[in-house]
Symmetry: D2
Subunit: 362 residues, 4 copies
């Protein structure tokens, strides 16, 4: 057993569910316990558990058999303590104060937070309050800056691609336009990867506002080539060129009034423009759950072990990123509040266009 | 090579897509060609192709490699020729007359139709018009009478169950009610099987009208037992006890005005009744596409081979059913217009209740 | 809660692993506990645990989350107490006496045994000794008499078929004969179903002794048709026509001296006879593990619930069979010592021949 | 359409099968035809087809629907023309001369070769003979230098990991050591990744010679902790510390005399050393076939499109590598004859040790 045997740290998972959380928890906890002899406090339901002091010490047996299990044994929530300046109705305390209080009560040397942009942004703010924070990049959206990838992403790509594969055969049999709506509010990584992997004929992502006429032209051209069916992959954050010119507030308001999700709207617009029958499938929560693919298990294990090493080294205030195949600590303030979008000249966008995928813009 | 070498028959696939169609086509065509030396005319897009005479003779090479492929190489449509008493806009002929004409033009000894209740009902009516029809029971809904099962069903069960498995982990992590809407307008077989296989805490099917209070009570009881999440499987044809008392016309009208699908309505009702957060996933076309599971491949191969034998024997006017493990020909008129519903005392309903699944009625 | 609240029963899983064991355990235990208020004693590692009195009372929480889990939470062993007339080295008691003693020590009203032919045969013998036994038909081999199917079988078919699907593409790319060896020592059900589902060009099962020349002729004919690759599915119990004429003892001896498994021998014989390159894959334990397919989950749940009902009714000395879609109790003595083999005129054998599968005999 | 419309190139796939070959073919051919108007000559069965002039011009329809299909529509072989200085028995020509002759006969501007180390080494030698060669890195072994990854690798990792997942449950139920032998003769990437992803308790790869006592100690320690089962992942090229000290020739000779594969030997050694029951599964060709995972489809599409760009630019004599997320051309001579091994301090080896995986050396 190595040094640091006296350290105690807390661990929480926060934000939307993503495959690989349990794998990462196992990586951190096993290394910290077995190699470094640390004590680990498992905090329930994200920052919510730290506000309410819903936590307990983890034992080695708690992480047995969780490597492949979807979800998170710690539970999660979308709690954002800094967004709420009021006293919490449950604890009658200010959330951030409660977090600091409970951090001290448990005598934590550090807190490891597993989450996406929101979680790590909160982590950065807690670091400013004096807590020792280590962040891990978990999200199916792959939209965290300074890291090449995030765990959960490839599993979501896999789920979405398998769905597209299934829908492909039905599109073919019925000569239909099949619209598949995937997750991705602000960044189109999931739509882009699943779209390319699934051979999407059209891929609409937030970064490339679409023109319905461009798409129609593409679909009609396909029909003329004897391909009377098409797969249209739509990220939930996709928007039209008209919408892209709206100011943010007007856009949000219009979307709120839209009674269906964007996939349905695109399907309707395409039916009108092409006279081809359309159907919609919204993948939704399928993309967040289940057994992580091996790629994510390897990645999450690596992130987890690295987090334990950083705990041992006392390297705090950072999120672990994957850069060119290496785990690299990045200051949390460089992550906070940012979103990694798909660059318009990304090689997959370029490659997609070459293999005849339409991104709705030309 | 066996007798019957001079026979020619047509084959079409009709109605909603279902995994196993290509497997069945392969079974029929290979046996008919190789064992009996028959000629096979492949008719495109269901009865539509027979109306428009869109057909061509199949070669052995056309069925190579299709055993595992989703969809149908023949295409399909929801064309119901007897529902349309007008002249067809494309052919300027009455649909049924056109079908009979093209049947004769190709010199068919018989026509094999692969489809669900609608397809076989049309088959029965064409048999009344003097055509030699053989039907095969294809549907993901498993709702054809006189047959224990239909091909496509177990694949749809598998897709729906895998989706429930994924969603289970997310329900658990977030302490949420996750509503999963599966297909099944008139019969609840798919919801029942996938619900039991996926460990659904609540299963709502058309045959058992639900009471939202019964469900709420069940979910609240679960919460009191420390299970703060639940999986609610809802067939698209599920309806409330109030709706069950409406006359058919009023019910249809109300449903038409409902702006969301039933899954969303149930989620909303449960949120109000239980104060638990709810989310919805509608599986949709995922359930109709993709590679058939081995069970369906074995079944569809068996059905297909049997169809070829019936062609050789000249046994027409019948649908092949599976009864107690045997292929049995059943007169088409005994199938036509009927729907096999889940009996209220079905052993899976009984078993489901024992393992704590709520069907919404008690 | 129903009657029978005072009953206590033991439960064990025995023999080779099969997917669905945990599902069945959950079905029995949940129904017995929740509906009937019974006490359940979980016995570890099959009959071994009853010999060594390795057992403990199960709680409701023990069966939470096990519906989809492969393996068995109770552990299993191949212990056959009646085969061993000596005192057990661990307990220093005669095995059967120890079993009876521990059955009484725990005050059991009955013992539920989940297993294949060996397990149920032992069950029958224990019933003769005066114990109240209920058997469940678990085996990937599907070779238990008086039941249409066993749980675990369809999952094994699924695993084997997916393997054949993968190997198919490689056979095609390399113009090779790919031999896939599947389980099935005495009965060929698994090979037959997976072979038909996977489009096997040759299927060799114990019930149909093969002639290597027949197979070679078939493969050469395929090559002449331009199909230079073939899939050969071989059950581990497959044997040649020469071997079939040996007396049992000589056969066993010869096999023992055979240094490779049968798949390798067939591959070698085919290479020599056809001059086509051959490769072998032995699926082995893959076929016994992992998440059960939905079909097996539904089946195992049904079997489990029915076992609880039989416990409540006090209906002992029987194995639950599935007959024509219904759960039917069958006296254990009618099961004991028998094996359900594939009949030579089984409809899948017939259908397989029609779609050009060679069974090695003609 | 872009420039280069007059170019013609040949394309071949060579070496062991790997998922993603068809995806890459589609990427190259579609881009070359549609964007650049090139002509494409499909060469059958690797370099063998170029020796025998077994080739034909591809049409757009040849690549329809192949994105997800395993294997290669072009066929493959392990032909190594420079290893054979004799006249070819089929053509009665020297292989290399025949290749150059046929290259000229088809008026090729370039030849694209998809394969592993052998294929690209041959490519380098043909470049030395004056042919314009572009290589693509295809192998399930991930052992090509100068590229971060190869297509086919993640699919093989996925297949192997899913197998380990299944076997895990059986190991657990039976308290057994389960040995899983995966591919990887010279490099242990596949074993390392699948082992970490599958939670292997022991991982043996060629780069880290093992000591059976080290492993036994690890397994016995596990047993003392109450974990009576273990998963041992063995690459086919794994070797003991004694073997590592042999000269190459002696080692090869010894291995040739070994009658079983290494997995069986390790199992036997472990049984003797630990007295724990062991079982072996050799995954074999499963790892080479079937539908590529989305990761490989994206990767192979990207490689394919890049190859078309290089054809258009006339950039020859290079293999396309993936370096830090970018496609980078690397001179073929820098690839030829080399193997990328797992470095002993690779972060996955380090991480594996932390989460209690034994590599057999300490």
């Amino acid at each position: 057993m190595k040094e640091s045997a006296t350290k105690t740290f807390g661990i929480l998972t926060s934000g939307g569910d993503a495959p690989g959380l349990n794998t990462a928890i196992r990586g951190i906890v096993r290394t910290a316990m077995e190699q470094y002899g640390m004590r680990v406090i498992g905090i329930k339901n994200g920052y919510r558990g730290l506000i309410e002091n819903d936590a307990k010490e983890l034992q080695a047996s708690d992480i047995t058999g969780i490597l492949t299990r979807g979800g998170t044994i710690l539970g999660t929530s979308r709690e954002k303590p800094f967004k709420n300046p009021q006293k919490d109705p449950v604890t009658n305390k200010f959330p951030v104060e409660a977090i600091i209080e409970n951090y001290k009560k448990w005598n934590l040397d550090a807190l490891v937070v597993l989450g996406g942009n929101g979680t790590n942004t909160t982590g950065a703010m807690l670091a400013n309050e004096g807590l020792n924070i280590i962040g891990l990049p978990k999200t199916i959206d792959n939209d965290i800056v300074h890291t090449d990838t995030t765990f959960g992403f490839q599993t979501a790509v896999s789920v979405a691609t398998e769905a597209i594969d299934r829908i492909h055969t039905t599109a073919h049999s019925h000569n239909r336009i099949m619209v598949v709506e995937v997750m991705g509010h602000k960044a189109g990584w999931l739509g882009l990867y699943a779209g390319i992997a699934g051979g999407g004929d059209v891929i609409l992502i937030p970064e490339i506002p679409y023109n319905i006429e461009s798409i129609s032209k593409h679909l009609v051209k396909r029909k003329q080539q004897g391909k009377a069916f098409s797969i249209v992959v739509v990220a939930e954050g996709a928007l039209s060129q008209e919408e892209a010119e709206l100011d943010k507030k007007t856009f949000k308001k219009q979307r709120k009034n839209m009674q269906t999700s964007i996939g349905y709207r695109v399907a309707q617009e395409l039916e009108q423009a092409t006279n081809l029958e359309s159907r919609v499938t919204v993948l939704g929560y399928l993309q967040r759950g289940g057994i992580p693919v091996p790629y994510d298990r390897v990645l999450a294990t690596g992130f987890g072990v690295e987090a334990a090493h950083m705990l041992a080294r006392g390297e705090y205030g950072k999120m672990i990123a994957m850069q060119n195949g290496l785990f690299v600590p990045v200051p949390l303030e460089e992550i906070a509040g940012k979103i990694k979008k798909v660059p318009l000249d990304h090689q997959l966008v370029v490659a997609g266009r070459e293999v005849e995928t339409c991104f709705g813009d030309v």
